[in-house]
Every structure is written in C-alpha cells, then in structure tokens.
C-alpha cells in the first residue's frame, strides 16, 4: 500500500538534485553504453567470421595430402602428394552419404588477355565445387562434368580477376591465356569478399582439375579433396569411413600415422570463432568494469546523500516513516538512477556502435539479449550498490537524525 507513495517520495528526492542525479546516472550510461557497443562489435566480428566459415559450404569435409620428410626437410600439408584422383573416386563410390566431391589442385600464375595481365590463383576443381561451396555464378555458366572428363580449356573467374583483366567488359566467352594456353571463360562468380585471413577470395580462376593438372599445375597428385555430405549428422561417420578407406588404399599399417589430414567444417568454424568469442568476452569484460565503476559511483553518491540528508531522514521518521519506508525510498532512488542510466546507456550504446559501423566499416551486431542483460545488470547494480547506503539510512535513530548538523 505504501510502495506507491514511496516511489513518489523517491522521484521527488531525485528531482530535487537534478544535476547530481544526471551525473550519477552518467556513470551507468557510459557503462551500459560501453557494454552494448563492445559486445556489438565483438558479435559483429563473430558473425562475419561465421558467415565466412559458412561460405566454405555446408557439411563439408576437407582431406589434405600429408606432409613428407625428405632428407630431414618437412614439407607442409599437401607436399607429400599422397592423394590421388583414384582416392577421390573411391570416396565418391564407397562412402555413404556423400553428395559431392571436388578434387582440388592449386597454383598461382600470371594470366593474360589482350594487353592486360594479372597474377592470380588458379584452382582446379570438379564440377561439384560450385554447389559444394555454395558459390553461384553472377554471369554465364559453370564448367560441366563433361569439361572435367575431357580436360577442356574452360574456366570461370572471380570478380577481382575479371575487373583487373577486362575492366567493364563482359568476360564471358572471352579467351584468357594461362601459361600461354587459351582458356574460354564460361562464367563469372558472385563476389565473396575477404576471407577470415584477409585473402581476396574473388581474385581467382577456377578450371576443371583435369585441365589444371595437365596444362597449368603439372603433377599427378591432388592438394586436397573437398567432400560434401547430405546431412550434418552423417559428417562424423563419413569422416571415419574416409579415414579408414584412405588408410586401406594407402596401405598404412595399424599404429602408423595417417599420410593425410581430415578436417570438417565444424572444427574449422570452432577454431575460427573461438578467437572472436574471446574478443567479445574481453571487450564485454572491459566494458563491464566501467559498469561496476558506475555502480560504485552510485553507492558513493547514495552514501553522501544519506549523510547529507540525515535531517530529512529524521523528519521523515518523525512524521511516521518506518525504517522500511526509508530503505525502500533510497533503494528506489538508487535503482531508478541505475535503470534510467541503463536505458539511456542502451540508446548511447546502439548509437555508438552504429557510428563505429558507419565510420570505420566495422560490422556490429546488437542482440536483444545483450540489451536485456545490460539493462538487468544495471538495475542489479543499483540494488547491490544502493542497498548498503539505504540500510544505513533506515537504521538511523530519529532523535539523532533530527539533531544532526
């Protein structure tokens, strides 16, 4: 019954000290604003990484050729050349659930057309590659399984390569010379942007792996095999079967190490997002510190306020306030400061992250949950830091309080 009046009393008291109330709330405004903005930046970065991982394709398993040691010199993954075209065929034939396989070889070289030339990456892939990586063409058509079987001199190119060589011209149907071999461009890929490592994914030429091995890269082994399974639940089983199939095909005796490496997309995603999760946590924690500092500011002001308003408390008690009324009043004052500060802080935080997104092109992502958590936390800060001063006020002896100078 008295709670309504107590709210009234608390709001009146806050209104009496406008400047002080605003300055106290400012601590929380900055704290909550910082939390919202920092977590927004962290989440934005994480979302960007996740989007890039997803662009690897869905339910994808990557098999890399192993490393080899020759005269004590160890090559990197793919250096051993242990993966054969036949391995890929065997996976296609024997592993259940597989919906796409792309044999991959990679090289970098100079490409040219007319009087323009450009140094770019050449990827040899199967026709499954575009589905597997969910990488549609912006223009033209992809090469076909027939092109792969016949090792035809066709390719598709990324947006960057297209712009560098052809400018504003339409590259589809044009001839691109790679190592002096003329390739016909059948299509241009949709832009993918930068990878998590900052590599321009659109600076690329993709051709049938057969053509690449025969005319550009040379050699008879694959750098890696990309496998796609139809269902995420089949990834684990497929991965195990690929391992045992390849060990068997490569005659690896039990107890010896694999001469290849299998990774699935999930593992890659986890590794990549772990870093951005840590960043989000770190940013949030630093911002959280400022929220706690804001809370201490509230406690400080409330303690000063209790001392300064000792006579007021005495008068209130003399005219009939219970200890609880005083406690509630000061608690409401503290929580009002912190939660109004919290609400304004949310606005400031959203504004700040919009500004950062606009000014520095940082991706930011404000989630409802981070807003809710920041607000509840700020209200909790008010209760936590307001309780002690409020209890001090409620415990005052009315006679002493009235006599206080």
């Amino acid at each position: 019954m008295r709670v309504g009046s107590t709210f009234n009393v608390a709001f009146r008291a806050l209104r009496r000290n406008k400047l002080r109330s605003v300055l106290t709330a400012l601590g929380i405004i900055i704290g909550v604003g910082a939390v919202i903005a920092m977590v927004g930046i962290g989440n934005g970065a994480k979302a960007q990484v996740e989007a890039q991982i997803a662009s690897l394709g869905q339910n994808v398993i990557l098999i890399f050729s192993g490393s080899t040691t020759s005269s004590g010199i160890r090559t990197g993954w793919g250096g051993a050349g242990t993966l054969k075209i036949e391995d890929a065929d065997a996976i296609r034939r024997e592993v259940p659930g597989v919906v796409g396989v792309s044999e991959e070889v990679v090289s970098t070289t100079q490409v040219a057309a007319g009087n323009q030339n450009w140094f770019t990456r050449i990827y040899g892939e199967s026709a499954d590659y575009f589905d597997l990586r969910q990488w549609p063409l912006a223009d033209g058509v992809p090469f076909t399984p027939q092109d792969v079987r016949s090792a035809n001199k066709v390719c598709v190119i990324g947006r960057t390569t297209a712009t560098q060589i052809y400018g504003n011209e339409d590259p589809v149907g044009q001839i691109l010379r790679i190592k002096n071999v003329p390739f016909t461009i059948t299509g241009v890929l949709t832009p993918k942007g930068l990878s998590t490592q900052g590599v321009d994914q659109d600076d690329i030429v993709i051709m049938p792996y057969t053509s690449a091995m025969k005319r550009v890269v040379g050699g008879t082994t694959l750098r890696n095999i990309n496998v796609q399974v139809g269902d995420a639940r089949q990834i684990e089983a497929a991965q195990q079967q690929i391992i045992s199939l390849l060990r068997q095909r490569h005659n690896i005796r039990p107890g010896r190490d694999d001469d290849f490496t299998v990774r699935n997309q999930q593992e890659i995603a986890e590794a990549a997002t772990a870093a951005s999760k840590v960043m989000t946590l770190l940013l949030g924690a630093i911002a959280g510190v400022s929220l706690v500092v804001g809370g201490i500011g509230i406690m400080n002001i409330m303690l000063v306020s209790v001392t300064e308003r000792t006579r007021e408390i005495g008068v209130r008690m003399a005219v009939g306030a219970h200890g609880n009324d005083i406690l509630t009043q000061f608690l409401i004052e503290a929580v009002t400061l912190s939660s109004v500060g919290g609400m304004l802080g949310i606005i400031v935080g959203i504004g700040a992250s919009q500004f950062l997104a606009w000014k520095f092109q940082w991706p930011t992502l404000i989630s409802i949950s981070s807003i809710a958590i920041a607000f509840l936390f700020s209200a909790a800060v008010g209760v936590f830091f307001g309780f002690y001063p409020a209890r001090q006020a409620a415990r005052l002896d009315p006679i002493e309080a009235l006599r206080y100078e």
């Binding site: 000290n17 007021e312 008068v315 209130r316 003399a318 005219v319 009315p398 006679i399």
Partner: protein, 262 residues
C-alpha cells in the same frame, strides 16, 4: 506522587498520561538519569509550556512524549492506549496519526515546495491518497496558517516565520491529537514569535492540544499551564494566571522592538 500502577483507568479523559516515567542512557560505563520519575497528565485542549534549563531533562521528556523514544521504566498512555512498549514501526505509526512535530529549526525539506513539505506526513499514512487529494489537503492547511498563494515557494524563498508556519501546517495535516513544539520560536525574532504564538492560541481555541518546550518565560506566558523541570523531575506545575494574548500583543504599537528577555 501516590499513583498506583495497578488498576490504571485508561479512560479517565487524559490525552497524555505519564506514570512514574524514567529514562536512563548508558554511555559506556556511565549511566545518565535524564528523567527520573515523572508523572504528568494533560487533558485534551490544554496548552502546556514545558520549561527548564538545559540538562533539566525536558528534551528527553519531549522525545518520550513524541514517541521518538521509549521510557526505561514507567508507562506512557497516549489517547487511551499504552505506547510505552511499542516497537519502532508502531511508534512511527503513532507519530504519524496522533502527533504533529514543530521544531526550532523548522526542519523543512530543502528545495521542496511548501506544498510538498506539508504533504510529507500524508505519504506515510495508512490512507492512500491520490496526488490531487494530497494537494487539496496540503493547500487547505497552508491556507489555514495564512500561507495561501505560497504553496509553490521553496523554504529558501520564505521568511523564518513563514517557514515555521509551513512546519505548523505539516504538523496539522494529519489532524493529530497533540502538537509537540520544541522551542518553536527559538530561531525567530520577537514579533514573529508573537505571530507564531497567535497561531498556537488560535489552534488551541479550536481545541487542539499543544505541548511546547521553551526556555523563554514570556513565550511560556502564552500557554495555559507551565510545567517546570529540573534534574529530571517536575519542579512545578501551575496554571498561567496572567495569560498573555498574542493577538492583543500584535495590536500594541512597538511590540516588534521589545526585548523578549525584559
């Protein structure tokens, strides 16, 4: 004093009834006997001046009468009910409903309008009032003490006498049984003091019981009864025979320059 503790008639008509009240403070090893056996009855409609030098125990007695403190022993019957054993919150309720306080230093909330100051006791009452009701009640009481039109003034915009009138309005707003005034004229000049006494006498004429602590003989002369304390006991208790009427004083020319100690 030969009052018996047994068979106290709660309804003998007295508004305030102290029966052998003691108050002892302990400060470390020291025991201070501030009030040592006071029995006192005050009937409804009385206007009592409680006098005594500092250290006489009158402030302690005032705190006991105001239910701000509990007696160490003895009994205090206010308006027919024994309040000597009540806890903090029950005492707060009694103060809210039955007692109006007026202090020497006014004790108004700073940066708060006269109206909101007067509304204060209503906020802690058992009846929940709307803002409009609060406002209406406060304005009515303010008008009755001659502050109509000054409802929105803050204490800093009011003279001492006006501030004390706001305090009187605050004390009256809950229709208390008794007004307790602690040196109500201590911070006021002599003419303003007489004005405040005029208000007290008007209120008393309307039947409101007033107990006023003062050390000024001429202020005590406005009351109907003077009780003097010394060393924690009642020294004298007599009816004022030569009662001064404040209205008449105010009509006399040159009153404002009189030295109250004369």
């Amino acid at each position: 004093m030969s009052l018996s503790f047994n068979g106290i008639d709660m309804n003998n008509g007295a508004l305030v009834r102290l029966i052998d009240v003691h108050k002892t403070y302990r400060t470390g090893e020291m025991e201070v006997h501030a009030v040592r056996g006071v029995s006192l009855e005050i009937q409804p409609g009385e206007f009592v001046a409680l006098m005594g030098a500092s250290g006489s125990g009158k402030s302690t007695l005032m705190n006991l009468l105001g239910c701000l403190d509990r007696p160490t022993s003895g009994r205090y019957v206010l308006d027919g009910s024994d309040v000597s054993g009540l806890d903090r919150d029950r005492l707060a309720d009694i103060r809210n409903r039955k007692i109006g306080f007026i202090f020497q230093s006014f004790n108004l909330l700073p940066r708060t309008s006269a109206r909101e100051n007067v509304e204060l006791p209503l906020l802690y009452g058992t009846h929940r009032l709307t803002n409009a009701q609060l406002r209406e009640k406060a304005d009515r009481v303010l008008a009755s003490v001659g502050l109509g039109g000054r409802e929105d003034h803050h204490p800093s915009q009011l003279s001492g006498g006006q501030q004390q009138r706001v305090a009187i309005a605050r004390a009256l707003v809950n229709d208390p049984e008794v007004l307790l005034a602690d040196e109500p004229t201590g911070n006021l000049d002599s003419r303003t003091s007489v004005e405040i006494m005029a208000i007290f006498q008007q209120l008393n004429e309307r039947g409101i019981t007033i107990i006023m602590v003062t050390h000024e003989q001429d202020i005590a002369a406005y009351a109907r009864r003077n009780v003097v304390m010394r060393d924690g006991i009642l020294l004298s208790d007599k009816v004022v025979t030569q009662r001064v009427l404040a209205e008449a004083e105010l009509d006399k020319p040159g009153t404002s320059t009189n030295n109250p100690e004369e």
